[in-house]
């Protein structure tokens, strides 16, 4: 046995001001150990910590009375102006146990780009990502805003901030823009206005809202997106104000249930009302509800449908078949029972329909190694889930060097 008396290098305790490179150093190591540089990897759902940038976003509000009023919030800073989330119910940090769950407060030396771009670059470098598709954290609850005109104002401001202020700095960053869905006309206007903007790869509905996705006033919107070959995503979020979830007394319980509940309702309406039949080429993606809910819903809807086919006459096949043709982001992938997970992958046809997503920097993020290490995936499925399915959904170019790797398999 050899003994060294030389002091080895040391690592520090991670706090909310620790550099992302250090927080994610082990993800960098995982990527190197697995040769992930040979894989095309797209993070289909990440977020930018935008709380610090909110005053900048407010500058893009186009109604001058709203814009002026915004700066009377937060002691004249505009901080949190008009946002309807409830700060006192944000337990993502788990009582301080998960430092990045509260904020990434690290100092950023590179002032040549917005802070959000600098942070995204670090995450992409650490996790070996080729593209990171992001959505603003601050807007995830906006669908519950009691003033739908404010939803539309903030959506436009935020979309402009992304297109004009963030995306031009980093071609690896791509955005799904917010649809002010509570006002169908405004949602259509958003698509018309931002369609074709560089870096915009899709449009997104935050699922925490009480709008029926099958309502006739949305059909023009869906047709526009189908014709433009633009995906629509339904992004879940937690909601502690629902009549059911407000009876859950722990953040754990509420988070586990409410992230699924909204998309259970929306996906059920989507399928049973025959929207896959009405818009067969529209790419529909269900985001951040994990995967365990899908085999449940497939079986449940098939079971009821077969007994009550008269209520869903647009469908020509089982609901599960339509569900298996839509797209899903994997995070947060429930993996405590690998047999169930393997069955879920088979049910949703994960090899062509599942997209890797990190959700970074949120508290329950998933690293690419989580896909790579699944024992039941073959090489083709692994490559598809890590990036090639996303390339298909978002029309992203795949660099030639990866195509050579695929051909060599």
């Amino acid at each position: 046995m050899t003994t060294s008396r030389v002091k080895p290098p040391e690592l520090s305790v991670i706090t909310d001001v620790t550099d992302s490179y250090e927080i994610l150093a082990r993800a960098t190591r995982q990527a190197a150990e697995r040769g992930l540089d040979k894989y095309f990897i797209v993070d289909a759902d990440s977020h930018i910590g935008d709380g610090l940038a909110w005053a900048e976003v407010l500058k893009f509000v186009e109604n001058e009375t709203v814009r002026d009023a915004a700066m009377f919030f937060g002691g004249g800073t505009g901080r949190s102006a008009f946002l309807n989330d409830t700060p006192g119910l944000q337990h993502q940090h788990a009582g301080g146990r998960i430092p990045h769950g509260a904020h990434l407060r690290e100092p950023i030396a590179d002032k040549s780009v917005p802070r959000e771009v600098a942070l995204s670059r670090k995450a992409m470098d650490c996790m070996g990502l080729d593209y990171q598709i992001f959505f603003p954290s601050a807007l995830l609850f906006l669908g519950m805003h009691p003033q739908r005109e404010i939803e539309a104002e903030l959506a436009t401001a935020y979309n402009r901030w992304i297109v004009e202020h963030v995306l031009p700095h980093e071609p690896r960053m791509k955005a799904m823009l917010y649809l002010p869905y509570n006002t169908p006309d405004a949602a259509e206007a958003t698509v018309k206005r931002f369609l074709g903007a560089p870096g915009v790869v899709g449009f997104l509905v935050t699922s925490t809202r009480y709008q029926p996705v099958h309502a006739n006033e949305y059909m023009r919107l869906y047709r526009m997106l189908e014709e433009a070959d633009m995906p629509i995503g339904f992004h879940a979020h937690h909601n502690w104000h629902n009549e059911y979830t407000r009876h859950l007394n722990r953040f754990l319980s509420m988070h586990a249930i409410s992230f699924v509940m909204s998309n259970v309702v929306h996906l059920t309406n989507w399928v049973i009302n025959g929207l896959p039949v009405r818009f067969p080429k529209l790419k529909v993606m269900w985001i951040e509800s994990g995967l365990a809910w899908l085999p449940f819903l497939m079986q449940r809807l098939d079971h009821e449908y077969l007994m009550r086919v008269s209520e869903a006459p647009l469908l020509k096949r089982l609901p599960s078949e339509y569900i298996g043709e839509m797209f899903y982001t994997m995070q947060p992938m429930e993996a405590t029972n690998l047999k169930l997970l393997e069955g879920t992958f088979e049910a949703i046809r994960a090899d062509t329909q599942l997209l890797y997503a990190s959700d970074w920097p949120h508290w329950d993020f998933d690293v690419p190694a989580k896909v790579f290490d699944l024992p039941f995936l073959d090489e083709r499925a692994r490559r598809n889930i890590l990036g090639l399915n996303a390339a298909r959904v978002f029309n992203l170019p795949v660099p030639a060097r990866y195509q050579q790797s695929v051909a060599a398999e």
């Binding site: 046995m1 040391e10 690592l11 305790v13 991670i14």
Partner: protein, 123 residues
């Protein structure tokens, strides 16, 4: 097998730790609790997060009264957990076990204290 020098004994105060990287890039956290030393690999069994770089916090318990009514959640006296900063997985710093899932545990290393130095033995 090799023995890695971690620190002088006085450099790790009670309740403190050192997280070191050896020549083979193995990361090990050495913790001192009530005078005893414990060494764990800096590799969370969940997703490989930097578990030894997380917070040290007491575990929790839900207290019940004689009628089994809840008296709320409180810190568990005498407990000390190392919490993975990636996702919050909590492991008893003395046993390396996850409090709620006994099969999940941290990889350990033997620790020795000799001539005022703290050493771990790594394969």
């Amino acid at each position: 097998m090799k023995e890695i020098f971690v620190a002088h004994e006085h450099e790790i105060s009670d309740g403190g730790r050192k997280i070191v990287i050896d020549d083979d890039n193995i990361e090990i956290g050495v913790f001192r609790v009530d005078g005893a030393f414990y060494a764990w690999r800096n590799d969370c069994p969940h997703q490989g997060g930097p578990v030894c770089q997380g917070k040290l916090m007491q575990g929790t318990e839900e207290r019940l009264d004689a009628d089994r009514r809840s008296l709320g959640i409180h810190y568990r006296a005498g407990s000390l957990n190392i919490v993975c900063p990636w996702h919050g997985f909590e492991f008893d710093v003395r046993t390396g076990r996850h409090f709620g899932h006994a099969k999940m545990r941290l990889a350990s290393y033997p620790v020795t204290v000799r001539d005022g130095g703290v050493y771990v033995v790594a394969k």
